[in-house]
Symmetry: C2
Subunit: 215 residues, 2 copies
Amino acid sequence: MTGGPPQPDRATSPRRPRGDAARAKLFDAALKAFANHGFHGTGTREIAAEAGMSGAAMYVHHRSKEELLFAIAMDGHQQALSAIEAGAALHESPAERLASAVWHYTVWHARAHTNALVVQHELGALSAVHAREVFELRRTTEARLRQIVADGVTSGDFEVLDLTMTSLALLSLGIDVARWYRESGVWTPEEIGDHYSQLALRMVGHHPRGRPARR
Amino acid sequence: MTGGPPQPDRATSPRRPRGDAARAKLFDAALKAFANHGFHGTGTREIAAEAGMSGAAMYVHHRSKEELLFAIAMDGHQQALSAIEAGAALHESPAERLASAVWHYTVWHARAHTNALVVQHELGALSAVHAREVFELRRTTEARLRQIVADGVTSGDFEVLDLTMTSLALLSLGIDVARWYRESGVWTPEEIGDHYSQLALRMVGHHPRGRPARR
């Protein structure tokens, strides 16, 4: 039903932020430090040292630890949004669009679980202005998925209990994968994506047009 | 379908830990500090001051900040497990047992969202021994819910794609409520519980026995 979408790597791999190698190193170092010690438990010097650069060199890229967290958060949220958009764009029918969007979103959260977790846990450390930007991107993501579900309701393919709450629940499934996923676990990101895209179709009350109501 | 379970408060209210008022004050103070500054960003003196006691008085209750976090984590996980058990115990049929368990679990995560979030975010700060105890409780919780779903599969009421993954997804829904729930939001914990228990029945492919297949 969901099939193997072409070029999944394009949309779901934890991408390096655009820019030079130094910036990528800083991202990795900050993610590692934030994941191990939390944002408040991490010093800028620690991040710079982990990235193999001086505090002054780090300052060229990000003026503060908060700005580095902001860049990581925006990058992560942008990738999650892109996963939904790229997934949906691969198909035409509401059911295939939803299944593919959920697949890519879920797989992204499994593959980039450290990134996703840090962003989720440390959002409170962002400045008010930066937090607003992240939440704006989050609202856009919610709106994109809600629209995919709404299209299926309009076409008669889906029958939801509550459009907004069901859409939020669909996102929750993917988001929470970042909490429990382990590379050493029994399921691959793709297997989780397959299962979750089928669960998603159940959650939206999918019944294919022109066929008898499904059991 | 899910109905209003009797005495929901018994099972789902964020309970105070057993013990004296001082211990409850410490819990509240630590939760507030961990939520605002993270475990690593919080000092023991800060917690004691917030609870209105001296460091020495705090030491009577918990020998370290880590031990306080452990007590909070065990208490939170025990309450979440109790929500599932108490919810399921109110009913007989697999569908009602699952709907009620999910309802109580979800409502608990909304009402006790600060507690649940802190526990989720700071698990990495626990000692290896303490983390094992928490994970043991978590595995028990997963097993309880999985058994409820399995009973429904055995009886023919449910038709799942994968028993373990579906059960995990059901828990994810409730857990993630703690991340996005706000007291100022449009939905009450009970409304979210109502919706999620219906979503749960869709996710397990619930079809009432003796009735035509549902659309």
